[in-house]
Amino acid sequence: MTTASVLLTSLSQVSMEKLFVGRNRLNFVTRALLQLMALQYNTRPSLRSYLKGRDGWIDFSVGIMTETGGVEQSISFVGGRVKARSSIPDDVDVTLRFVDEDALFTMIRATPNEVLLLILNNKLIPEGNWAYLQLFNYLVALLLGRAHQRMLDKAARDEHQSRKEACDPCDPDVLKELQARTAYRMRGHKTDPGVHYLEDPYLSEYSLSDFPRLEAFLDDHLEKKPEVCSERPLLITQWFREHGFENDHTGQPWDPVARQGKVFKHLMSQKTPVVRQADLLPGTTTTQPTTGSVVFPDAQGTMIWGELDSIDKRLLIPFDITRETAQTLHHDVFPFWSKRNFREWARSKYGDRPSQNLGERGVAYFVWKLVGISHTIPDFRGLLSKGTRGLISDLVDTLDDPALKDEESRVTYQAQIECLQGVNAYAAHLAAHAANEASQEPDPERKQELEEIARVCAHVPQHPARTLHEALTAIWIAWVALHNENADTGLSLGRLDQLLQPYFEADLLKLPSNSSRQAYIERAIELAGCFFMRCTDHFPLSPDLGNYLFGGASSTQALTLGGVTPNGQDGVSDMTYIFLKVTEMLSIRDVNVNARFKPGVNSDAYLSRVCEVNFITAGTPSMHNDDAVFAALRPHGYDLEDIRDWSATGCVEPTITGKHMAHTGSILMNLVAGFEMTLNNGRHPLIRGHAGPSTGDVSSGDFETFEDFFAAYATQQGHLIGLAVELNNHLAEVHAQFRPTPLLSALMGGTLQSGRDVTRGGAQFNSSGTSNIGLADVTDSLLAIKKLVFDDKRVSFAQLKRALDTNFEEDPALKALAEHGVPHFGSGDEEALAMANRVLSLVHDMYGKHENYRGGPYTVGFWSMSQHVAYGNLSGALPSGRLAYKAFTPGLTPHPSASKSFLNNILDVARLTPEHMDNNMAFNVKLVPDARDGREKTVSTMRSYVKTYFEQGGMQIQFNVVTADTLRDAMAHPENYRGLLVRISGYNAYFVTLNKQIQLELIERAEYGL
């Protein structure tokens, strides 16, 4: 053990009182620690080697200070020499600003995940370049060596123990009940007009055990950690080193579109072709056959720099990483990108703007463009019908058109051609690799499969697809390519049942006998299953912080089924049911399956099947009402045919399939943050200082009427929305100017006509989607203030404010009154519903004032991913009676205490104005099956809920069909529940991978008996 780690670990065992009696003492200790670090790095060659990257010594500096002024220290790394100083230089790269000495002391002793909690709770604010903060963390971790490891191990042990303790001993039968669900499967009948071949569309005769290869893939998926892959970052970094990033080899500034086209072609031409053993679909996003993680250092990839040594051991969602990969990323990749990424480009152009600073405090809003922009759906219809050759030929024709004079279009088309050529090169390598594997394959059956794979990817995606296998392969290869261009943030698949049904039918038409058709149907299920399992092959590389913000979220690749065709016919087909069967058998988090239902057109049989799959999998698909989504999209002026062709993106958000750059997950806005600022005259308790304008002091009686207060809320929330929009628009410019996406552009409707990259508004339709979290909590709080303070005058506003400031500890009766004496949203009370609609309308109109960077509107959604937990954890007590730091309700789900009858929840949510929710919503319902009931009765009840909700106007609903007891058992015994699927608010996750707070929120959600 090193001297430093001895000192550091001994510190963690000394009580604070003994060591830190004064500020000066802590300042001294901080300097001593930094000096020790400098000494170690200056004198030990093994450590010193880490200060050097491929391009030379990594020069940077880090400051450490407290807001209270007691501590100010820094450490600088220049030319391989490390120096500690008792001041912070003006040009410091990053400063760790601690709220006070306690926070700094906690940090010194804390485990890495505890440090994250300091950041989340705004007790530690990193200012400056985050890449260098991460590098500093990495160097500290290297210094601590095994001591760091022991801290991690202990944290993991403590956490597991606390999870066990949080759960009472559970009934072992809960596990059996869950496992028994797959044993019985309802039979269906051919009733849907679009179902032509499946006599039993529910495919009840099949189970996972009929598909050994899928069983093996699933087992692999659940057992193996995703592995960090250095291939993409290394290939692009090497290319940029050779060809320049800002300027090309002649010294001329690169046109970023042209540059991205060239680097992408290089990447795809060099990418390793991998065909997983036994798989029917070739290609992988990384070099890993099972699950890999693509690193995007040009986006937020350097955020894992600090975890290179520990990411495989962290508590939540660990990743495998080889020593070689860590070394490559540290020496060869990350230093090149520390100042070349989305965030730094924005900082260099706009400086540290309030919109960015506030966003990074994590309390008020989060803007996804720091990570990626490709939250949309590519045009696979064009790809399958034309092939990449057809797309290239269209581009060449346009380029050759003498009328084309515009240089940007020329560059854009050329870059798109290069990207498509890159995809072709990759497909050719896959074909050659599969053929080579075939030649060495001893098993004749597999040999034949490999030969078929080689033949298929010699044909697609270059040429139009002719069979289901070709179509799925073409989509998959394009998918691999898209996920190497752009970070995996909810890029979605669209309506694959619609798209693939003709290939399925064409294949069947060639088969004369009944038995050959039966065998084909089984093969089609298997192919669709392979496709699903391939889609889980990449998992976004999230820094540990992400586990606390977006627990367990995968890439969230939405697939949309059912609904109506563009001309309004019933869109449910054989392929709809095949995908439902695969969803049921695999029960995986990603693909995120969304089922559309058009009342009056789609059948009860289809809706029943969707409900049965929800029952068996406990949490998927999510269900949407076409009528409500159509109503939401209509004001945008899209053609009806386009509206009817909507698909869910990411979680639930509607996008016009294949021609709409909607970045539907742009902004995650905390509606409670503005509310707390209204209660505190523009201050936010956690952010400290003024986060918004002064709008009146509650305790001084500045609000004479409820309307005064409501207007103040509108001002505060509008202020936050304005800031979030500014940040989102700045970052959109970063994407357009720093890292355009020519491949995605080549696969998007409208770009051929516009000649612009999709990041620059080139798609046919443009918009930015937002999600607004805490609707029910804000509505109920407004109702409580209106009724208790202003209408009935049962309490003074000042008294209510005091109760909130003390978390109701001194006034439990007021809490009880707020909960029971005020009709809440979801109770069936007209005034409560009207208030919810008023907030909805307010939020919608506030975004309506803004335009996005690409010239499109902002759309407004009310789903929450896992932010209702994360934001709830950062918010104080509310007038609704909700205690401080408790989760908000998920999505816009009414509070459990709103009504004894779940039907009132359904009816209220159904009556929210769809036009104000044009980025959809999430209504989360936890249902508990009654073991005594038969499957038919259970499914019939579920269908009745959903169908009535839709007929009454409801937009979206999603189920968790699992009891709190089961979840508690899973919390205590994760080993028995590795694949237990839960729906958070929009996306699916495996329960056992979630942070404890999200687990508890799911356990505590109201449950309704079936």
Partner: protein, 307 residues
């Protein structure tokens, strides 16, 4: 004959999945001619309005004590209600911030009631559900029932009556029967003496009424389903169940439903501050084996037992 009294409604349980087909709203009427010792809805036995107190949700604010003009309330570890002083003004209920105090029994006009029930009609329609009349004993209030059922049928809502069978047949036949879609008919104890002892009234009328209703059902009338509550040591004895089974067999009844004992009823007794006459009541759920043994008694004489 004079008109039957106006009822009080104790509760409307919405989204019920266990009180008949589909999704249903269950209406609990206050007042019952029987007083079974195991009564699972003891708040529905008396006809008059009552005060209910739930200590588990009480936040001890003392607001009720302040609001009571009769000095009938005092707050110790829990609230103590002096029923002698209470005039049932329910000022305490209005003052209670947490809903721990509540009023058992509301008078509602048929119009009000139907409007409330119709709210969930879309669920009834999609699930094949409707309204279930329960209690207490709904047939205590046959004039009201007649009006209510007619109003429900005008809205095309499926109606189901749960009854103990202790009613005047001619009035029932005239006022209630024509507007019903389904009857759940409780049979508890076959022995008249035991019935009197445990249920507080004789069972002759009950059995006679059942025989007549069943005959009418066979003749194309309203379907009648006999249901037997299984109360450990009282109704679940082989003798009692065997006698009932023979009775059903004799009259050509082909199916029956058993209702396993639910120990949670005791909490309700506590909330009302009642002292149960059923001191030996078990606090355990029945095992599957116990339930199966009861079912076998019926299956042996070829009477189907519904799940």
């Amino acid at each position: 004959m004079g008109s039957t009294p106006q009822p009080l409604i104790v509760d409307i349980k919405e989204n019920s999945l266990d009180d008949g087909p589909g999704i249903r709203s269950v209406l609990f009427f206050k007042g019952c001619p029987l007083s079974c010792v195991w009564c699972h809805n003891p708040e529905c036995i008396g006809k008059d309005v009552e005060l209910s107190y739930d200590a588990s949700t009480c936040v001890q604010s003392g607001e009720c004590v302040k609001a009571c003009k009769e000095d009938a309330l005092s707050l110790g570890k829990t609230l103590v209600i002096d029923t002698g002083r209470c005039t049932a003004c329910f000022d305490c209920v209005s003052a209670c911030p947490s809903g721990a105090l509540s009023k058992m029994g509301e008078s509602m006009s048929v119009q009000e009631l139907v409007a409330r029930l119709c709210k969930d009609k879309p669920f009834f329609d999609n699930s094949g559900g409707g309204v279930t009349l329960s209690g207490g004993e709904p047939t205590y209030f046959m004039d009201y029932l007649c009006e209510l059922l007619q109003a429900l049928k005008r809205q095309d809502i499926h109606t189901l009556l749960q009854t103990c069978g202790a009613f005047s047949f001619p009035t029932f036949e005239r006022l209630v029967y024509p507007h019903l879609d389904l009857i759940y008919y409780d049979l508890k104890l076959a022995d008249p003496q035991a019935h009197k002892q445990y249920c507080g009234a004789a069972n002759e009328t009950i059995l006679d009424n059942f025989i007549r209703l069943h005959a009418m059902a066979l003749d194309g009338g309203v379907e009648v389903l006999p249901r037997i509550p299984l109360i450990v040591g009282i109704t679940d004895t082989v003798t009692n169940l065997g006698t009932i089974a023979a009775f059903l067999r004799k009259h050509g009844v082909e199916k029956v439903q058993l209702m396993p004992y639910n120990p949670l009823w005791r909490q309700k007794v506590d909330k009302l501050g009642l002292r149960s006459r059923f001191v030996a009541a078990s606090s355990n759920w029945m095992t599957q084996d116990q339930i199966e043994a009861c079912a076998d008694v019926f299956r042996r004489v070829s009477v189907d037992v519904l799940p």
